[in-house]
């Protein structure tokens, strides 16, 4: 889309529709160029322009409103030339709703051994031609994302290992702030693509505070919390999220990158996060694992050989209304269609979990929902300590009911 065809309305409007009176959870209406999004939202990951094994039409049936794409992969294949010619990723993959793309920096640092970060950008060797040294600068990342054309795009950030401590963490935080300015400057499609800055600062609350203070001075329409979900302790994880959501403005959406386990989602919604993404639900499906409120089950397990119930009796997805656990047991990991079938269920599960939380917040009974959720997941026992601590910090006490 060019400036000429763009509408006057800002490319992002966010409105809080309901707030939990106990926790920091909120329901929002996020309006993006391609469609609206009900938050809190889980965004399935379609790395290479497809959610593995699922048709865009099936995602519409599941009422998925936003997908994530990976800039690093898409920049390599199909490449910017193809995407430019077709007019962006939405058209290329036939997806009429919203897309969010990452900056490509995280993949570069995590996938490539030879990546090196300098003030200019991320220096790396081409994975297809080792002798060829390339540089991904903040400007370059935005240029690629402008071609991909996602509704929300991410700034290039200075990624350090979550468990890193010392001056490198502080350096990364400051550099991330310098890079957001270069990204905003480079964005040629501010009228229809929203750059989210990324809050960095490791596990240090003081650094996170400084980072938020700087980022909120910029003209941005939403924020991401980065540098988590990378091997830090669960205590450090929730406390850092808690600090960030306390500091970030209420009138803008908050995206917690790379988080998608059901219990993390419930805790982080309570802490005030609005957007999530994770490859886990679809990746685990390909190994035969299905998600339920009572935990995940591996359908390969012998115990399902004669289990003629659907994966989840309460689920209305096409897999649960058509197939039994026993059938899926027989084809999981063997027939390629099993990846599609279990992925459909797992995406449906994630979307349903978010919908249930939104409904509970609307009805102002979110704390009850959270208690019920953990009672189902950990029957007769308390959830792990970090879950109890995190929820206690936002006013929900979890108890084990006396067995009568």
């Amino acid at each position: 889309m060019t400036a000429a065809t763009a509408t006057k309305a800002p490319p992002l409007a966010y409105q809080v529709m309901a707030k939990c009176s106990t926790t920091k959870a909120r329901v929002g209406n996020l309006v993006l160029p391609h469609s609206h999004v009900d938050t809190p939202v889980f965004m399935p990951v379609g790395t290479q322009g497809t959610l593995k094994g699922i048709l865009p039409d099936q995602l519409l049936t599941l009422n998925c409103q936003i997908l994530l794409g990976n800039t690093y992969h898409l920049g390599l294949r199909p490449g910017t030339e193809v995407l430019k010619k077709v007019g962006g990723l939405h058209k290329f993959m036939g997806w009429p709703r919203n897309i969010l793309t990452d900056s490509g920096g995280f993949q570069m640092v995590s996938l490539l051994d030879l990546a090196e970060i300098t003030e200019e950008g991320v220096k790396f060797r081409s994975p297809y031609d080792e002798s060829n040294e390339c540089m991904l600068t903040p400007e370059h990342s935005i240029q690629i994302q402008n071609v991909i054309g996602a509704d929300i795009i991410m700034q290039l950030d200075d990624v350090v290992k979550t468990t890193t401590t010392g001056p490198r963490v502080e350096e990364a935080m400051h550099r991330t702030i310098r890079w957001i300015d270069r990204c905003l400057e480079a964005n040629e499609r501010d009228h229809d693509q929203n750059i989210f800055p990324i809050v960095q600062g490791g596990l240090n609350p003081e650094l996170r505070k400084q980072c938020v203070a700087e980022l909120t001075k910029r003209a941005v329409r939403g924020f991401a919390v980065g540098g988590l979900s990378g091997g830090e302790s669960k205590d450090d994880f929730w406390k850092t999220v808690h600090v960030c959501t306390d500091l970030l403005p209420d009138d803008k959406p908050r995206y917690l990158m790379g988080v998608g386990f059901a219990e993390d989602l419930v805790v982080c919604v309570a802490l005030g996060i609005d957007m999530f993404d994770c490859v886990f639900p679809t990746r685990t499906a390909r190994f035969g694992c299905a998600l339920l409120h009572s935990g995940q089950i591996n359908l390969k397990n012998k115990q399902f050989e004669k289990d003629f119930r659907p994966i989840d009796e309460d689920c209305t997805c096409s897999t649960c209304t058509t197939y039994t656990r026993a059938y899926l047991h027989n084809i999981a990991t063997v027939e390629s269609v099993s990846s599609s079938l279990i992925s459909i269920h797992n995406v449906a599960y994630q979307l349903r979990l978010m919908r249930e939380m939104r409904e509970a917040i609307h009805k102002n009974c979110f704390p009850d929902y959270v208690r019920g959720f953990f009672k189902t997941l950990y029957p007769g026992e308390l959830p792990p300590g970090w879950v109890c601590d995190a929820l206690k910090a936002v006013g929900i006490e979890l108890t084990v009911e006396n067995k009568s």
């Binding site: 030339e81 050989e305 058509t322 059938y327 027989n330």
Partner: protein, 421 residues
């Protein structure tokens, strides 16, 4: 035979050829012939969730189930008790159970003693007629055939053909006896596999020896022509016509359905229909899809002799920036919503969606092809259709283009299984 759930009637025989139309009926559904069975892997139409198959057509598929890739489900099915169709999520679909998967090369050998080898997921299992029928009972198919020895092809020696003939006859007689006493299979149609490779004498003898039991047989499988996989699409057409024509003449039994299992090419299918064969399966569609081919041949007699490229190889880099649909005017989901460039990208990145999108288009194309064939049989102009197909096959050697990494991996797979057994 009225106690069967499934029935077959011949409705029309052409004047200009032996092509005929008819229909299978089950409950209130009917399935017109010439009929395309949907081949399955592990009970599913390859790559397609039921939800996705319903994007292709709302007509119930008539499923072909292969024991070689479903035998491991027997414990589940035994406990389930409601048969394979319901188990695989197509409760109202009829099923035709075959022993070997037509989509993969079947391992050869182990044709000794009173048993026939079933090559399953965990290796080889020797099945006597008793064991075989017991296994079939668990599946509760609407149609199945007696335990065969059809391990022959165009290159088989006289000795092998002879052995196949004798063993197949023995298995047939024993299977039929057990079938007649089986309560659970009393409603299933029982098919006789006619074997004999490409040898007319053996075919004649096979029919002659089985004929006394034909009154108990509901249909015929013209078997023993190939060892499955893409190979079936490459059979030399004149030899195939000659042997099938001879077999059908010897058979007589004009009222009973005749089935050919395997990835026969679209043109071969037409020639076989012209000779009086009623039922085929979609393994050609699956093999084309997994070799990244999109079927684009024209079968519309009403367009003024439009000659299309027979099939497109979507892995070809020339499609990288081709934002057109696989086939102009095709109404399938793939063609209405996606482009060649996108499918090429999905192939290059080895994404699961590539074979899904190709299966959607190819399945729709082939179902439409069969619809056109049935019309052509009604209009008694099957030869015109053959001429149209011939003009396009000449454009491209489809058989050769099937020689891909997958047919190779089929062989590797078959070898591995042989080693494992």
């Amino acid at each position: 035979m009225s106690r069967k759930i499934m029935n077959f009637v011949t409705e029309k025989v052409c004047q200009n050829s032996s092509a005929k139309s008819g229909k299978f009926t089950k409950d209130s559904s009917s399935f017109p012939t010439p009929l395309l069975l949907q081949t399955t892997k592990g009970g599913s139409i390859p790559h397609l969730a039921k939800e996705v198959y319903e994007y292709v057509t709302t007509d119930q598929p008539f499923l072909q189930i292969s024991l070689s890739n479903t035998e491991q489900m027997r414990e589940s099915l035994d406990a389930f008790e409601k048969g394979i169709a319901k188990f695989v999520g197509f409760p109202s679909s009829p099923t035709f159970l075959v022993m070997k998967s037509p989509t993969e090369i079947s391992p050869s050998g182990f044709n000794e003693g009173g048993a026939s080898p079933l090559f399953g997921r965990k290796g080889k299992e020797l099945l006597t007629p008793e064991k075989y029928i017991k296994l079939v009972e668990v599946f509760q198919p609407d149609m199945y055939h007696s335990l065969p020895d059809s391990d022959t092809n165009i290159d088989s020696s006289k000795k092998r053909l002879r052995k196949s003939l004798i063993r197949n006859l023995d298995f047939f007689e024993n299977s039929l006896e057990i079938h007649k006493t089986s309560e659970r299979l009393s409603k299933s149609m029982f098919f006789a596999p006619i074997v004999g490779g490409f040898c007319k004498i053996t075919r004649t003898e096979c029919v002659k020896l089985m004929k006394p039991r034909f009154s108990d047989v509901d249909g015929f499988l013209i078997d023993g022509l190939h060892n499955n996989g893409a190979h079936a699409s490459k059979l030399e057409l004149s030899s195939l016509k000659e042997i099938v024509s001879h077999t059908i003449e010897e058979l007589g039994e004009k009222e009973k359905p005749k089935v050919m299992v395997g990835a026969y090419s679209p043109l071969a299918v037409l020639e076989m229909i012209k000779l009086g064969v009623d039922v085929f399966d979609s393994s050609y569609v699956y093999i084309a899809s997994k070799n990244f081919k999109a079927l684009t041949f024209n079968f519309d007699l009403n367009t003024e002799s439009k000659v299309n490229e027979f099939a497109l190889d979507l892995s070809d880099p020339k499609y990288k920036e081709d934002f057109s649909p696989l086939l102009d005017n095709c109404t399938c989901l793939t063609c209405t919503k996606h482009t060649k460039a996108y499918i090429n990208h999905l192939i290059v990145t080895k994404e699961l969606l590539a074979p899904i999108l190709l299966m959607i288009h190819n399945t729709k194309h082939y179902l439409n092809y069969f619809e056109a064939i049935r019309k052509s049989v009604q209009n008694d102009n099957i030869q015109e259709m053959i001429t149209l197909l011939e003009s396009q096959v000449a454009e491209q050697d489809i058989e050769d283009s099937f020689e891909g990494r997958n047919s190779e991996s089929d062989q590797v797979e078959a070898k591995k299984r042989k080693l494992a057994s």
